[in-house]
């Protein structure tokens, strides 16, 4: 296998091939019928021939250049079929699986001449493929966030090479486990096991499969995986000294000191070995908003915040510019995206039999800027429209005034004068009414009650609301908590124990409290709208490439398109509950969801992955010798040693040989036609 030649033909083919040169000889001499030509005298010719006959064997061969050339062509072809080569590690085994990492860090350009790691990995695999014999089969799997079978088992080296070309760099994280499971599935397609007396026997005889993992190792070791027939080999790709600066976070949030301002928070991490100064530029809708210079120490992170106006909306982009001279091997993570969404988009449903003061508080100018408030009467709770929308996360907040639904909706809720259905709240509270409670304390630090003065509010009667586990009492009275908040899944429920308006014993509408007359009343509702409508801000930085993005749209919306960052469009379908699951998030950037041609929602996909950005190969100094070895890879309980990064490549000669044969063929044709005397 390791020799100068390797056989590419079977015995029959060899016999046929071996018969060709004698056949050419035979044909040549059979064909050789000399044309008689009468000449004045053969005197001189004889003398010529005698001279040439001195080394007659050579002359005999030289007699026919065409014969010589034909034999040369066949010789070259035979030599090419023998596949001469040298300096190669040979492939051992019959079946191979090449796992090629195409995650974000594989785009790092720290290879030779600025080549990317992926290109390097591809070159390695091409070298391995070139060594394959005709009876060997191989398959190629690329893996990042998701494993992808690029080419199934084949012995067609051209197919394999083509498949290799198709592998594109992605911006996703690395997940080896999925790729291993996929490889395992392909490696043991027909695994049949029978259990007999608590022992498992595998019926089909399994062949060992060589598993070549080409990655820069930006992932943790794989646990709970049995390699079985897979014989793993790990080829680390990349250099030990790669430098990278990355944006590892971009958030927008309300200013802590000045809540009316939005702040953009940018975190830059230096994964290199030198301290660096970097300029962070922030663009809003492609217009430069601000820039700041950051000093980032080696291996550390630094952050800065930019102030934005409250009304700012659109696409936010942060770019770091490491400077011309600075080395930055991974460009993907130099840009981060965020979406500033219009907060008025948040929807609030008010379910009330009629409450003018509450309605007035929810429709002030400022409140309109924060949310759209819809109003329905309690009788509409039975309607199908409510049923659908409440389960479809359509509303950010539903306010139940003097009523309660049968089941909790999929949204944040605020109950006025009633308790939420379900055991959580009901079991703590006995629906007991107390009369004339006095507010003694309230949670001033809570965003719902910030800047509010609740003292002096008179309340006729109220329910005592004790929050379930995990909840907090917001307003405490002489008789017990009056307002409480508690989480439910990822929603929050607020319960106000007292009604604002209610029915008295005679059934007349009457005020239950004088709170609507206080300044704190509209302030409280503004806080409520602000608090619940602002929730969506926090979700924007969590989308990672190649992971599914869940979006909540209105139900039954059709003609929904997603515009990818590169401008291409994709039609998507929305399920009954208005949920949109979008999976094609391989690109970094901002995705727009078009509903009926209008931009409905936007979301940003960012790398924000420290393991991927930390592109330098992890090294382990072997103490005894000076060699720098790359860490091994743990798969299950097997430690896979990293192979030498300089993989010896077998150089094969058959291509130039065939080209040479072609050239000789052309030469022979030329000589035959031109009768050139050579």
């Amino acid at each position: 296998m390791d020799s100068l030649f390797r056989n590419a033909l079977g015995p029959t083919a060899w016999i046929i091939l071996g018969m060709i040169p004698p056949a050419i000889f035979a044909l040549y001499f059979l064909k050789l019928k000399r044309q008689p030509l009468e000449v004045p005298s053969t005197y001189l010719w004889h003398r010529v021939i005698e001279d040439l006959h001195v080394n007659s064997l050579w002359q005999r061969l030289r007699k026919s250049l065409l014969l010589f050339l034909q034999l040369l062509i066949v010789g070259l072809a035979i030599l090419a079929v023998l596949r001469p080569g040298w300096q190669g590690e040979s492939l051992q085994g019959q079946q191979f699986i090449f796992l090629i990492d195409n995650s974000a860090s594989m785009s790092a350009t720290d290879g030779e001449n600025g080549r990317s790691r992926l290109a390097e990995a591809k070159q390695r695999v091409v070298a391995l493929i070139d060594q394959m014999d005709s009876d060997m089969t191989a398959m190629i799997i690329s893996f990042a966030e998701q494993p992808n079978v690029v080419q199934e088992f084949t012995n067609n080296r051209r197919l394999l090479r083509d498949a290799l070309d198709r592998i594109e760099p992605s911006a996703a994280q690395t997940d080896l486990t999925g790729a291993l499971q996929l490889a395992d599935g392909f490696a043991n397609p027909g695994r049949v096991t029978i259990e007999e007396e608590n022992a498992e026997y595998e019926i089909t005889e399994q062949q060992n499969i060589e598993l070549y993992i080409l990655s820069d190792g930006r992932f943790a070791g794989v646990e709970d995986f049995s390699l079985g027939n897979l014989q793993p080999q790990f080829f680390p790709i990349g250099s030990l000294t790669a430098e990278n600066l990355a944006i590892t976070a971009l958030n927008t949030r309300r200013g802590e000191e000045r809540p009316e301002l939005l702040q953009a928070f940018v975190q830059v991490t230096n994964f290199g070995s030198e301290d660096r100064a970097v300029v962070v530029e922030l663009y809003l809708n492609e217009q430069l908003l601000d820039a700041a210079e950051l000093d980032v120490a080696a291996g550390a992170a630094a952050s800065t915040t930019f102030n934005l106006s409250r009304e700012a909306e659109g696409e936010l982009r942060a770019v770091i510019n490491p400077g011309k001279d600075a080395k930055d091997d991974l460009k993907l993570d130099n840009t981060a995206y965020a979406v500033l969404e219009n907060l008025r988009d948040s929807r609030v449903l008010l379910v009330t039999p009629g409450n003018t003061s509450l309605e007035a508080a929810l429709t002030t100018d400022r409140a309109k800027r924060l949310a759209q408030v819809e109003k329905i009467s309690p009788s509409a709770l039975e309607g199908s429209s409510y049923q659908r929308q409440s389960q479809a996360e359509y509303y950010d907040l539903i306010i139940y005034d003097q009523c309660a639904p049968e089941a909790m909706p999929q949204s944040n809720t605020l109950f006025v004068g009633s308790l939420p259905p379900g055991e959580l709240w009901q079991k703590n509270n006995a629906n007991e009414k107390i009369f004339g409670p006095q507010i003694i304390d309230w949670e001033r630090s809570d965003p719902l009650l910030s800047l509010l003065e609740l003292g002096g509010i008179q309340i006729a009667d109220s329910l005592i609301v004790r929050p379930p586990l995990g909840g907090r009492e917001l307003v405490d009275s002489t008789d017990g908590p009056l307002i409480a908040i508690a989480p439910r899944d990822h929603y929050q429920d607020v319960v106000i124990g007292f009604e604002i308006v209610g029915d008295d014993e005679e059934g007349n509408r009457t005020f239950n409290t004088d709170w609507p007359r206080k300044h704190s009343f509209p302030g409280f509702w503004l806080n409520v709208l602000d608090y619940f409508s602002g929730v969506s801000d926090d979700s924007q930085s969590t989308n990672h490439p190649d992971r599914m993005v869940e979006l909540q749209l209105g139900p039954q919306e059709d003609n929904v398109e997603v515009v990818l960052p590169d401008g291409s469009r994709q039609n998507v379908t929305v399920d009954d509950t208005g949920r949109l699951n979008f999976t094609d998030t391989s690109q970094l950037g901002i995705y727009s969801v078009l509903v009926g041609g209008q931009v409905g929602k936007k979301f940003a996909v960012n790398l924000f992955d420290r393991p991927e950005s930390d592109i330098a190969l992890r090294v382990r100094q072997a103490g005894e010798d000076d060699l720098i070895t790359v860490d091994s890879l743990d798969i299950g309980y097997v430690e896979v040693e990293a192979q030498s990064p300089q993989l010896e490549v077998r150089r094969e000669l058959w291509k130039p040989l065939l080209l040479l044969a072609l050239f000789v063929l052309a030469l022979e044709w030329y000589i035959y036609n031109r009768r050139v005397y050579i």
Partner: protein, 297 residues
Amino acid sequence: MSKATESSLLSPSLCAQLERLELVTRKIFRGRMKGERRSKRKGQSVEFADFRNYVPGDDLRMLDWNLYARLDKLILKLFLEEEDLHFYALIDASLSMDFGEPSKLQYAKQLAAALAFVGLIRADRVRIETLDQPVFQRNPVYRGRASAWRMLRQVEAIEPRGGTQLATGVKNFCLRNPGKGIVVLISDLMDKDGYESALKNFLSHEMDCFVIQVLSQAEIEPDVKGDLRLVDCEDQDEAEITVSSPLLRKYQQTLNTFCSGAQQFCTKRGMHYLLANNQVPVEELVAKHLRRRGLVR
């Protein structure tokens, strides 16, 4: 113009050209008859040559009596002798000469006719023979312009015949013609036994010998290709060749060696050698090359 000039061998223009020429020899030959040729010998003519002292035995008729009266010495008055010249043209009429365009034989015949014509004009004795004629067959001797047509008829009648041994032919010629004179051998010299022994025969006869080797263009630069079986037209000898560039180069070399060998052989033995290509017109050959060689002037 005589009838002879209408022959295919000699064109009128060639004849006009030839009439201005004469055959030259550096050797002193005794002609049988007085001719128009000034000989190197002193003899009886009207042209004074020299004086010399009388030695007993001299012809008294040659004494200059006037000088004897004046100087009281016997002094001989020498006159230039005028004599005729034997010119032999020996044509190789073997089959191998029947090649080329015009054929070498035709070329040889033309050349021989031209030279013979010069001889006839100058009242030399001209005899034309072929190599293959038997020892005892003597061809007529022509003399004088009037014989030109007969000479031409004889030359024209020469046909290529059989393989002739060069040595035998020359030997026979020498046996038939013991006298001195100019002999022009027109042949391709392609004899498998070599030309050396043949040419040596001329030496013993002290003849002023010209060897004109006639080669056809096809022999000088053979235009052959492929795998060939060459057949010798005289003895049916065969040579198998596969034409290649080295082979042709080798042929060229061999031909050059052969020709220069013949030239050296001739030069060393006081013979004149001339290589004639059948593509060179006879007029040019006679007027330029043979004049330069000193055969005609």
